[in-house]
């Protein structure tokens, strides 16, 4: 029974997302659309399962929604800060810096989410990963204290991601 379930639904969460996206694309909720979305949501993960051998083991949806809200708020705040930097700081006084963030996260999915978060937050862009995946290279637009930004990334984002993917 469990094996049949895993064969039919290799990625239950992806099935849910595909169904929701399909219903939203139709812009109206009707039983037919939900059923068709479910059919797509079962067929597509099944057909692409070969290329997704692993799936994140633990994933806490509730904590992920809290995380998304925090990130949205940070995007708003950081946007204003970066706009201020663009308008007021002349190029000669701009202090860009490379920051190396040592990673505690191991799962590729979690590191991807962290890198995406860093890039979406204005003022920081995640540039590269070290060859063994133990550090993340981040570029900062303007900072006086690179260490503070590194600690901020670690305490604000990475700690939460460690709890989400556990």
């Amino acid at each position: 029974m469990m094996r049949a379930y895993h064969w039919l639904l290799p990625h239950p969460f992806l099935t849910l997302i595909l169904t929701v996206v399909w219903v939203m694309l139709q812009n109206q909720v009707s039983a037919g659309m939900v059923v068709f979305g479910l059919i797509l949501g079962i067929i597509i993960p099944r057909m692409t399962a070969i290329w997704w051998p692993d799936r994140p083991k633990g994933f806490r949806l509730g904590k992920m929604s809290v995380y998304s809200l925090i990130v949205l708020w940070d995007i708003l705040v950081a946007n204003v800060q970066v706009a201020w930097v663009v308008l007021t700081v002349p190029n000669a006084r701009l202090k860009p810096a490379w920051i190396v963030v040592p990673l505690e996260l191991k799962q590729p999915e979690a590191i991807t989410v962290l890198a995406g978060t860093i890039t979406l937050t204005p003022g920081t862009v995640s540039a590269d990963l070290s060859d063994e995946g133990h550090s993340l290279l981040v570029h900062v637009l303007h900072t006086d204290d690179p260490d503070a930004i590194r600690d901020d990334i670690k305490t604000r984002y990475e700690r939460r991601l460690l709890e989400i993917f556990s």
Partner: protein, 128 residues
Amino acid sequence: MTLTSVATVAAALSLLIGSIFIVIGSVGLLKFNDPMTRLHAPTKVGTLGIGMLLLASILASIAKGDPSMHELLIMAFLFVTAPVSANFIAKVCIHSRACKTPPSPPRDGTWSTLDTPDGDGTPAPQGR
């Protein structure tokens, strides 16, 4: 003050705010003189600027009495794909030495972009 007029005014406001941020992002793109700092301008436009324009679109559709949720999907896909292009531009900058070479990572040999098999002038990866 009906719902329609509230939604219209809110849509106009978010259009204005979104446009301001897009203008600031473009100013940044023109003003900065280094590829890596320039990269920061489009990430800003891609988040708040486009987000506010899409919010305006949602509000306008509500004002017209035909609510549309496609914009939420656009926002979601944009937020998922925008970091990928930024990451690739950053990788090209590092690879082509268009920027200051980053400090080497503490625990591993080198950054994966600099870890090329033909070794085009980079220090050989150590600690394998």
